[in-house]
Amino acid sequence: MSDPGTAGMFSFARRFDPAVATAFVCLVVLLLVGSLYSSNFLSLEYLLQQLKVASFLGVAASGMMLTILLGGIDLSLPWTLTTGAMMSCAMASFGLAGAIFAVPFGVLCGVAIGVANGFSVAYLRIPAMIVTLATNAVAQGLMVLYSGGYSPRDFASPAMRYLATGFAIPGLPNAVICWAVIGAATVFLLKRTTFGRAIYGIGNRERVAYLSGVNTRRVVLSVFAVSGGTAAFTGVLLAGYASKAAQSMGDAYLLPAIAAVVLGGTSILGGRGSYLGTVAGVMLITLLQSILSVMQIPEFGRQIVYGVVIVCMLLLYGRGPRTRA
């Protein structure tokens, strides 16, 4: 990338993934379609509002993207998210100390679930899809037991509300800043650290990464821990946004998170993809949902259009290779 002169053009072409480009084009098309319906779609307030809504999905998709890059997937997102939300609210009810430790405690609970996932995938060699399904069920069981099957009565701490709804920089919602920080950290991790390169290596072929001297099991364990942490942090933000946690608040995030990562050009088989694409995917999903609800299409129509659009976009640029020997 630092080659002088002629390499500039090549590196630009090499770095510019066609899938990411298509995703951004789709994004612009979506905005234009929206603006035909109402000129508000191009207003700054609307776009900022969408960015704020997108940041919750964006945080969740960051961890999901890392696990997908590894060639795994984290299906425990819904209840890890709910665990993060419920546990941070529970902590917040313990006076001043509780209010201070609410956010870290919520995230820590998510990391714990992530470590359980990562340990089973990395050391017990159980496929990620099955084990995260099982830990999701266990987390659900624990939370149902804790909450008695109802929405807990604890409220979010002021810090959580500030993170989700405040404005540290005038005009820019804090939730967006949270996403930006997590996004920047993810990009740094993927592009500038050996750990990040190891993630791509394992996603391409774990055996080779292992033979190259990468401690693959530790990398896998860490990535799932991070994924659990981001999922729980999404829960913390959502609890701060709604000022309390709720049962099954995470269900609405699993499929959009996976869809956002895949629409952003990350291969579901692992080893290929960029964070920029995930950003595009997250905004695509959020805008699509927003436009469908603004147009006041009934719920069934929204679901149908949502599914059809995802299939069509994937047919544009997400197709796999032809079967060959």
């Binding site: 099982a134 069981g141 719920e299 679901q303 796999g320 290779p321």
Partner: protein
């Protein structure tokens, strides 16, 4: 290795699933307050059979090394459809049943076409089609309601000869009519071959496209049979998102318990059925031990986690560390 040893190795997953089910069934019935009676069995069967149909559907697709995350939504869609059209005169009821099954098969066929010719990864393609099917279900039933012909519903959820639950007979019939012919056919073998190694199967001239298409279509059909039975049990149709996605996840769990490899090419729908019945029985065990129902989700989750962790025992046999990476 002798021929019968291959056969035995092939049946190990199914046999384990059957053993788990038999054990759980025994524990359940010995401890049930009402004892071992036809009524208890009938209730168990009616709950278990729904998941068994979905587990069969999921197993067919997973054998080709795909996955169908829309199976719960097809189940919801056909439930809503059946609650609208399986009513009226006997002829109308018959037409309604056939139309419901055809709709399910069509959903499966669409999945298959997208995966085969669209060359999309099954996991994301079926997430998207699942949203579409759920949307269609909502379009038919925005609010829970509808009805079903009670004669056929009661006939298929009651008991035969006073002992055998009709739903189990129906399940066995479906196995004989759908699964056994599929397994014996060239297409069925091709499905296993495609799941084991698609490239090798392709080079050997195995009809992998036809095999996958049939597997996805039959999965849709089986999910529709499940949806039809759900309507017979509940007499209504409801498009419940949570229920649909729970059934999808449970179907994968059942398949795993049933000894079907998620990498494809290994296992059988029979194993998946026992996996589903075992999963259901485990979930209900708490009731017979008179524990707080709030413990049920946790108990189910822990059992599931333990079941999948059993797969780690294979690590003890690894002699070369490179075998970790399969």
């Amino acid at each position: 290795m002798k021929e019968w040893r291959f056969w035995l190795a092939e049946q190990r997953g199914t046999a384990t699933a059957f053993a788990i089910f038999a054990l759980m069934f025994l524990v359940y019935n010995v401890n049930h307050p009402a004892g071992f009676s036809a009524n208890v069995i009938q209730t168990m069967a009616n709950k278990g059979v729904l998941l068994a149909f979905l587990a069969m559907a999921q197993a067919l697709v997973i054998i080709t090394s795909g996955i169908d995350l829309s199976v719960g939504m097809v189940f919801m869609l056909t439930n809503c459809l059946a609650s609208a059209i399986v009513v009226g005169s006997p002829v109308q009821v018959a037409v309604g049943v056939v139309a419901t099954l055809a709709a399910g098969a069509a959903c499966g066929a669409i999945n298959g076409l997208i995966v085969i010719f669209g060359r999309l990864q099954p996991i994301v393609a079926t997430i998207a089609t699942g949203a579409v099917y759920y949307g269609l279900a909502l379009a038919i039933r925005p609010t829970p309601g509808g009805g079903v012909d009670e004669t056929i519903a009661d006939a298929l959820t009651g008991r035969m000869l006073g002992v055998v639950p009709t739903s189990v007979v129906a399940l066995a019939t479906v196995v004989l009519v759908v699964w056994v012919p599929f397994r014996q056919s060239v297409t069925g073998r091709a499905a296993y071959a495609a799941g084991s190694s698609e490239a090798a199967a392709y080079m050997s001239g195995v009809p992998i496209h036809r095999a996958k298409f049939v597997a996805y279509t039959l999965a849709g059909l089986l999910a529709a049979i499940g949806g039809l039975f759900l309507t017979f049990f509940t007499y209504t149709g409801e498009a419940a998102y949570a229920s649909g996605s729970a059934y999808t996840l449970f179907s994968i769990a059942s398949v795993v318990l049933g000894g079907v490899s998620l990498f494809g090419g290994r296992g059988s729908a029979i194993g998946a059925i026992f996996g589903a019945l075992a999963f259901r029985t485990i979930g209900d065990l708490l009731f017979v031990f008179d524990l707080d129902p709030l413990w049920q989700p946790l108990f189910q989750g822990v059992v599931l986690l333990m079941a999948v962790s059993l797969g780690a025992l294979g690590l003890l046999r690894v002699r070369n560390r490179l075998d970790w990476f399969g």
